[in-house]
C-alpha cells in the first residue's frame, strides 16, 4: 500500500475540526485518553491546578444544579444567593437615602455625595 492510497482511504475517522480552541484540545489530549504507564508522567494534580489557573473549567452542570456552587454563586445573573445579597445591599442603600431625604433637602444633598 502506498502513502497515496493511505491518504485516500476514507474509511477512517477524519482529523480534528479546523478551528479548535485550546480548551477543546486540552480537555481531550490531557486527561481523557487511554491510561498507559509512561516512564515520565505528568502529575494529574498538576493538570487540575493548571486547569484552574487557566480558568478553562468550572463546576460541572450536575454539581452546579445540585449546589449552585462556584462562579455561579458570585454571578448575580446566575445565582439566587448572590442576587439576594445584592438586593439586600440595594435595600440598605435605599433606606439610607430615604432617611437622608426625610431629614431635609440640604442633608439629602450631602448624603448624595
Amino acid at each position: 500500500m502506498t502513502d497515496l492510497d493511505f491518504r485516500h482511504d476514507v474509511d477512517h475517522p477524519v482529523p480534528g475540526p479546523p478551528n479548535t480552541n485550546l480548551a477543546d484540545i486540552l480537555e481531550r489530549v490531557l486527561d481523557k485518553g487511554i491510561v498507559i504507564a509512561g516512564d515520565i508522567k505528568i502529575d494529574l494534580l498538576d493538570i487540575e491546578l493548571l486547569t484552574i489557573r487557566l480558568r478553562l473549567f468550572v463546576a460541572s452542570v450536575d454539581t452546579a444544579k445540585k449546589a449552585g456552587i462556584d462562579w455561579w454563586e458570585t454571578d448575580p445573573a446566575l445565582s439566587s444567593r448572590a442576587a439576594r445579597s445584592a438586593l439586600q445591599e440595594e435595600n440598605r442603600e435605599l433606606r439610607t437615602r430615604l432617611e437622608a431625604l426625610e431629614s431635609g433637602p440640604r442633608d439629602m444633598a450631602s448624603a448624595d455625595r
Binding site: M1, G16, R28, I34, K65, A77, R97, L101
Partner: protein, 280 residues
C-alpha cells in the same frame, strides 16, 4: 538509544503519540511533532504500530513539564503539536491516541510496555472503529451581561436635579417608590432564575436527543466565561461517539435543536475519539 550517555544533554527519550493498526507507514511529511531534532517515525509492536519521536530527555523531564504546564503559549504549542500528529495518523489508519506527554526512557522500554497493552489497544480500536467524536456545547439564553439589561443598572434614587429646592411634599419621592424599586429587583431576580432553569433544561434536552444517535457520551466540565474568548455562559459541554454514517444526521439534529430551543448550540468535530479510547 538504550546506552546511557555521560552527558545529560545527549540523553534521549521516546515520545509516543498514538498506536495505530496499519500495514504500511502513515505519511507524516509536513508534520513535525513536539520536537525539531528528529522526525516522526513508526515503532512496530507486532500487529500494531506506534507513532513515535526521539526527543531530548532533558526537555521532557517532569520538571520541564511542570514548567510548561504553567506557561500557556508553550502548553498550547505542545498540545497542538500532539493533536496534529494524532489527527494526521488517524486520517490514515484506525488510531488510539495517547495522552500528551507519554514518554519512555528508551525504545526497548516502550516496546515492552506498549506491547503488554496490545489487548487494550485492540479493544479500544474495536470500540471506536468507524466512529468519530463530536463535541456539543450549549450556551445559556441571555448572557450574564444581558440579563436584566438596563434594569440591572444601579438606580440613582432620586437624582439631585429632579428634587425641587423649595420645601414641600413634592420633594419627597412618591410613597412606595422604594417598595416599587424592590419589586422591580425581585422580578428581575425571578427572571434570571427562570432563565437559568430554562438553560439547564435545554442542556438536558440537547444531551438526551444527541445521546439517542450516539454510541457513547461523556459530560465534560463546562468552560468558564472567557475560555473561548467570549462571555457566554456554557451550560453543557458534552462529547459523543457517533457512527460515521450518522454524522449528517447529527448535524441536522443540532440545527433542529437550535431552532426549537433558541439556545446557542455549538457542534465541533469530527474529532479523533480521544474521549472514548479509555476504559470508562
Amino acid at each position: 538509544m538504550t546506552e546511557r550517555s555521560p552527558k545529560a544533554s545527549d540523553t534521549t527519550a521516546l515520545y509516543v503519540y498514538a498506536v495505530c493498526r496499519t500495514e504500511g507507514s502513515p505519511a507524516l511529511d509536513g508534520v513535525s511533532g513536539v520536537a525539531r531534532d528528529a522526525p516522526l517515525r513508526t515503532l512496530p509492536l507486532g500487529s500494531l504500530t506506534a507513532i513515535v519521536q526521539t526527543v531530548r530527555a532533558a526537555e521532557f523531564t517532569d520538571e520541564a513539564w511542570q514548567e510548561r504546564l504553567t506557561d500557556e503559549p508553550e502548553l498550547e504549542r505542545y498540545a497542538r503539536a500532539h493533536h496534529e500528529v494524532v489527527s494526521a495518523v488517524a486520517a490514515q489508519a484506525p488510531t488510539v491516541p495517547l495522552p500528551l506527554a507519554t514518554l519512555y526512557n528508551a525504545e526497548d522500554r516502550a516496546e515492552v510496555v506498549l506491547g503488554n497493552e496490545s489487548a487494550r489497544f485492540h479493544a479500544a480500536l474495536e470500540r471506536i472503529a468507524h466512529h468519530a467524536e463530536w463535541g456539543v456545547k450549549v450556551y445559556a439564553t441571555g448572557s450574564p451581561g444581558d440579563v436584566g439589561g438596563g434594569a440591572a443598572q444601579r438606580p440613582r434614587t432620586p437624582s439631585t436635579p429632579s428634587i425641587p429646592s423649595t420645601p414641600g411634599d413634592r420633594e419627597r419621592p412618591a410613597p412606595g417608590a422604594g417598595r416599587a424599586y424592590l419589586e422591580r429587583k425581585r422580578n428581575l431576580q425571578a427572571r434570571r432564575e427562570q432563565q437559568r432553569e430554562e438553560s439547564l433544561r435545554v442542556a438536558e434536552t440537547v444531551d438526551t436527543r444527541v445521546c439517542r444517535i450516539a454510541k457513547a457520551s461523556r459530560r465534560l466540565r463546562p468552560h468558564g466565561p472567557g475560555a473561548a474568548g467570549d462571555h457566554r455562559v456554557q451550560v453543557l459541554n458534552a462529547t459523543y461517539l457517533v457512527a460515521e454514517h450518522r454524522s449528517a444526521e447529527l448535524e441536522l439534529l443540532v440545527k433542529d435543536l437550535r431552532g426549537s430551543t433558541g439556545a446557542g448550540i455549538e457542534l465541533s468535530g469530527p474529532w479523533v475519539p480521544y474521549s472514548f479510547v479509555g476504559e470508562v
